[in-house]
């Protein structure tokens, strides 16, 4: 199918359910789809294709939205316009097809298929169905935040620095009192710029895995508890 015919078919499919079926069937006839699918996905193509075709039928109206295309203004007889539309349509189909191949692949491995409980599942007509927020702007956020700041950072920073009840300093591995939660919080959170765990491991001359474990399993839970307490004050 040439670019102009495909472009016209997409334009028609946006308004005509019969044409959207024809468009879905045409996916199998577009040589780029198989060519760009990649060898890793090829074994799952035949099984995934019917699902992809259904998805395309259901969600064709999302294609121009997702690529910000004003299909009403596209002149399918203009070779450049129709070639561009073809490329983006194939990109869109390839995402869906790869996703469906991925599902087939997972199913074949006897992995439980992950079913999202969100509204973004296949079969819904798009990426988001929640109520959108049309009037929020970057400048608007700034004005909003002028009124809403709760200064949690300052409170926690002061707590970490003073550690008035020694809760942080007393939390360390038995064989290494220097690896306590206060020093970790100071280095990983308060220092500018903060160290990452690899750098902290180097600085304290301890294995990175130890830093990772202490931080995740001891220090962060303490800090979250302290933050909650400070918030309640």
């Amino acid at each position: 199918m040439d670019d102009a015919s495909l472009c016209l078919l997409i334009q028609e499919a946006l308004h005509d359910p019969n044409r959207v079926e024809a468009l879905a069937l045409a996916i199998d006839q577009l040589p780029e789809v198989k060519r760009y699918l990649g060898p890793g996905w090829q074994p799952y193509y035949e099984q995934a294709l019917p699902t992809t075709q259904k998805d395309v039928q259901r969600n064709i109206n999302k294609f121009p939205q997702m690529y910000k295309l004003n299909m009403g203004d596209v002149n399918h007889e203009n070779s450049s316009d129709s070639a561009q539309v073809r490329k983006w349509f194939i990109n869109w189909v390839l995402i869906i097809l790869k996703r469906d191949c991925h599902d087939v692949k997972r199913a074949e491995k006897n992995k439980p298929k992950i079913i999202s409980t969100s509204t973004f599942m296949r079969g819904d007509d798009g990426l988001t169905v929640g109520e959108t927020i049309p009037d929020q702007t970057i400048d608007g956020i700034k004005r909003l935040l002028e009124q809403e700041r709760r200064f949690m950072g300052r409170k926690i920073k002061r707590y970490i620095e003073e550690d008035p009840e020694m809760r942080l300093r007393n939390c360390h591995p038995r064989n290494n009192p220097n690896l306590h939660c206060q020093i970790m919080a100071q280095k990983l959170l308060l220092q500018e710029p903060p160290l990452n765990r690899r750098e902290l491991a180097k600085e304290l001359e301890v294995p990175e895995q130890t830093v990772y474990d202490r931080w995740k399993n001891y220090c962060l839970p303490w800090l979250l508890q302290i933050a909650q307490e400070l918030e309640c004050e």
């Binding site: 760009y36 699918l37 890793g40 939205q65 690529y67 910000k68 295309l69 004003n70 203004d73 596209v74 450049s80 561009q84 490329k87 990109n91 390839l94 995402i95 790869k98 996703r99 991925h102 491995k109 973004f120 798009g126 990426l127 988001t128 929640g130 109520e131 959108t132 927020i133 049309p134 009037d135 929020q136 702007t137 970057i138 608007g140 956020i141 700034k142 935040l145 002028e146 809403e148 700041r149 709760r150 200064f151 949690m152 950072g153 990983l188 959170l189 308060l190 710029p193 903060p194 990452n196 765990r197 690899r198 491991a201 180097k202 294995p207 990175e208 895995q209 962060l220 979250l224 933050a227």
Partner: protein
């Protein structure tokens, strides 16, 4: 065609997304930090939205960005994919051309995704992604022009998933890896092994892989080594464990490259261009699709950064230490001396083809007969003074799709160039290719 100028994948944001972003932002001490947290939260939601559409499970609450203490102090926008790792979702503000990476996000990430915001926050665009970076050489920013198409994210995630599956399998190599390495999770190991396969030549896999695995190895005393200080002590005292690790790394990389469908034959070790896995969609298929309007360059040179180009002057200022550009001036058209030029301008774009940093200079000369002389010159822009052998510079007729002009670098070329003339409205594409990798820019005169 103005209808398809803005072609990146667009994701809508909901009121609920904004409500959470507002809550997180309100906890911060300053408006600036609050704004950052607000955008980080929306960026994470946008990527979550996309990843869930791919039927891939996510765990928002497990990320640092959802941890109320960490986000007070760190600039984080991570999204956890259970058993696979963290995606870092970096906001890109209007007119920005790079994503910034604060130190706290330079480790423990399986990829970085650029999320473009406009002034209105009801939707964002996903500009592309960059797989895991080398934690030993962290970057502070990534050029958006160097990102891989977001459409290929699922290929990347599938690769990592296949590698994880392998590492938990009953394969002899996988069992040995599990036995030797001291780690709770294979996420970072898999992401870094994938980076080594992607960025190193096959003959280096053994050494790069061995060095990397040494960070996770159990010592004889049962201590886990992950810092270079420990590594060097061990290396000096006993060479054989490292050699064993190199053997293990080589076997592991061979297995994974086989699973990922990457050829690793002896002859490819000689061929530079074949040493990298071919992307499943050629990069030029989805990169740089927008048309770069060259008439706008003449009218408004400040428009160049919008197309990821710099003026020659600003580019040379950045390159003053570079030997290649030490004596550089505007490349001159062969016909320049004999023709009447009305105006001229040069734009330079940095291109990264795997480890090869390149600079493409597009020199335009508007002639009195309204035709434009276009001179394209390709330079090395990294430490090398020569272009990689076999590198191609190709001009494609956008109407027919046919190759119009072509040049190829030999072993010691400092630059290659192509020159032609075009009329207003004519379209052409410039493709820079090395083996299976290529980057294409589309221009209209």
């Amino acid at each position: 065609m103005n209808t398809v100028d803005n072609h990146n994948l667009t994701i809508s944001l909901t009121k609920e997304n904004h409500a959470v972003a507002r809550q997180f932002a309100g906890e911060q001490d300053t408006v600036e930090k609050g704004e950052k947290v607000y955008l980080n939260t929306l960026a994470v939601y946008a990527v979550e939205n996309f990843v869930q559409w791919l039927n891939i499970k996510t765990d928002l609450a497990a990320g640092d960005s959802w941890n109320s203490v960490i986000r007070l102090f760190n600039d984080v926008a991570d999204l956890v994919i259970p058993n696979l790792g963290k995606l870092e979702c970096r906001p890109v503000l209007p007119r920005e051309t790079v994503i910034t990476l604060p130190p706290e996000v330079t480790e423990d990430r399986i990829c970085y995704i650029a999320v473009q915001f406009q002034e209105e926050l009801n939707e964002v665009q996903l500009l592309g992604f960059m797989p895991a970076l080398d934690p030993e050489e962290p970057l502070s920013q990534i050029e958006i022009s160097n990102l891989q198409p977001i459409e290929n994210l699922i290929d990347h995630l599938d690769r990592l998933e296949s590698a994880q599956d392998f590492l938990y399998s009953d394969d002899e190599v996988a069992i040995k890896v599990r036995k030797r390495l001291n780690t709770e999770s294979f996420s970072e190991i898999v992401a870094q092994i994938e980076r080594i396969v992607r960025t190193c030549k096959p003959y280096n896999w053994r050494y790069a892989g061995g060095d990397f695995l040494a960070n996770y190895v159990n010592s004889e005393q049962g201590i886990a080594f992950r810092s270079p200080a420990y590594r060097s002590e061990r290396d000096e005292s006993n060479r054989s464990p490292n050699s064993d690790l190199q053997d293990l790394a080589e076997k592991l990389l061979d297995k994974l490259s086989e699973i990922w469908g990457i050829q690793n034959e002896e002859e490819e070790m000689i061929d530079n261009s074949a040493s990298h896995p071919a992307p499943e969609i050629p990069q030029d298929f989805v990169l740089s699709e927008s048309w770069i309007d060259l008439t706008e360059w003449f009218q408004n040179p400040e428009s160049l950064p919008r197309y990821n180009f710099k003026t020659l002057e600003s580019f040379l200022l950045e390159q003053k230490e570079s030997l290649v550009f030490r004596f550089a001036t505007t490349p001159r058209s062969r016909n320049a001396a004999t023709e009447d030029s009305v105006a001229n301008i040069t734009g330079v774009q940095k291109i990264q083809l795997q480890e090869h940093a390149l600079a493409l200079a597009v020199c335009l000369q508007l002639e009195t007969d309204h035709k434009t002389d276009v001179l394209l010159r390709l330079y090395p822009a990294g430490d090398n003074t020569c272009l990689p052998s076999g590198l191609q510079l190709i001009v494609i007729d956008s109407e027919s799709g046919d190759i119009f002009l072509e040049a190829q670098a030999r072993s010691a070329d400092n630059w290659i160039q192509l020159e032609f003339r075009g009329e207003p409205g004519e379209r052409f594409s410039v493709k820079v290719a090395l083996g299976d990798l290529s980057v294409t820019d589309n221009f209209v005169i």
